[in-house]
């Protein structure tokens, strides 16, 4: 029994180190490509006579920023800048930011996702993805995508157990990664209120706005257990609804990415 544990801990350690290396290496390798893509998308929102100027000006701006994370954050800001300069309505601008950044993130995390999928398959029998019905914009139901973190132990009754790989994925929030596909499909946004499951009757701003549910809203979300937590979550959602802007979205995404790149990896 002890041997199994030692092996399990060793596997987790190697997996953790591999994941953090993978994230930083991929990020470094893909940064120039991602920045090119983001600036290109931003510039295409502008009127034709301004495109050439801002393409060059923004590339030179990014050149002056030290550090890869800083470069990507500044480039993402250009999406906000051009949607404001072209007076594109917030909802359309938000969709533009969603598709651009989630496509970039899917490309960035593809190798990591493949590694993760292999680990999930090796660790326990069952599918790679976990789907669940959630309520989206205007009450529309959709299937949320996550990496599977639990296995079914079928004894006399069905018992769900968090797998070893699942525990690591949850700690790093990597199980949420496939939600990028929900964003690309248009059911979700990068930033927005939590998508409730159909039997969750807690108050939600999704009923009183045309917002889509999002992957993040708060960098440190508390899983609501008590009704007081649910109320707290609702208050945060209301505050977001009041101050909602593309710029706020980018700040939330940047904060979330920063958390993952700094303490999340160390948390292993």
């Amino acid at each position: 029994m002890a041997v199994i544990w030692i092996v399990a801990v060793a596997i987790l350690g190697v997996l953790g180190a591999a994941i953090s290396r993978q994230i930083t290496d991929e990020f470094k390798a893909w940064t120039p490509w991602i920045i090119l893509g983001i600036i290109d998308r931003a510039v295409r929102m502008l009127p034709e006579d301004k495109r050439e100027r801002f393409a060059e000006e923004w590339h030179s701006h990014v050149n002056e920023i030290p550090g890869d994370v800083g470069k990507v954050i500044v480039a993402a800001g250009f999406l906000v800048a051009s949607s404001r300069m072209a007076r594109i309505p917030t909802a359309a601008g938000k969709r533009m930011v969603d598709t651009t950044l989630s496509a970039a993130a899917v490309a960035l995390f593809l190798p990591l996702s493949i590694v993760t999928a292999i680990f999930i398959k090796l660790d326990s029998p069952g599918p790679i993805f976990f789907r669940q019905e959630r309520i989206g914009r205007n009450g529309k139901r959709f299937q949320i995508m996550k990496f599977r973190t639990m296995s079914i132990v079928e004894d006399h009754a069905k018992v769900f157990r968090v797998t070893r790989v699942g525990r690591v994925l949850r700690r790093l929030r990597l199980d949420e990664l496939p939600q990028l596909l929900n964003v690309l499909a248009g059911d979700m946004s990068l930033v927005g209120p939590h998508p409730r499951s159909p039997n969750d009757r807690s108050p939600s701003v999704l009923h009183q706005s045309s917002l889509k549910p999002g992957i993040v809203l708060d960098a440190e979300p508390v899983a609501p257990v008590t009704s007081k937590d649910q109320e707290e979550r609702y208050k945060k959602e209301l505050a977001y609804l009041r101050n909602h802007s593309l710029f706020l979205d980018l700040k939330i995404v940047a904060r979330g990415v920063w958390r993952i790149l700094t303490d999340r990896v160390d948390a292993l």
Binding site: K50, R53, F54, E56, E57, W58, H59, S60, H61, N63, E64, I65, V74, A75, A76, G77, F78, L79, V80, A81, S82, R84, M85, L246, F247, L250
Partner: protein, 102 residues
Amino acid sequence: MGKRPRISSQTITVLGAMMASPASELSGAEIAKHAKLASGTLYPILLRLEETGWLKSRWEVGDPTLLGRPRRRFYRITAEGIKNVEQVIRDLTPKAENWAWR
């Protein structure tokens, strides 16, 4: 030209950064650093100020292929801009005669 742009607190921050050294020319990245503004906020303001004639911009001299990098775009405040900023400061400052008799 000549139309007064909307003056938000961020616009004032940008103008403040430009007024700190009215003779020099700054790139967008430099203004962002001085004014501590995000790229998403800065460029719409720069464009608006340029369209109303308060700022002027020009390309860095040189060929991008020879430089080996994209050219920078430099901004400077115009004489008209300085005049207008001084007017804005006067408008925002409470006038001495208004409270002298209180």
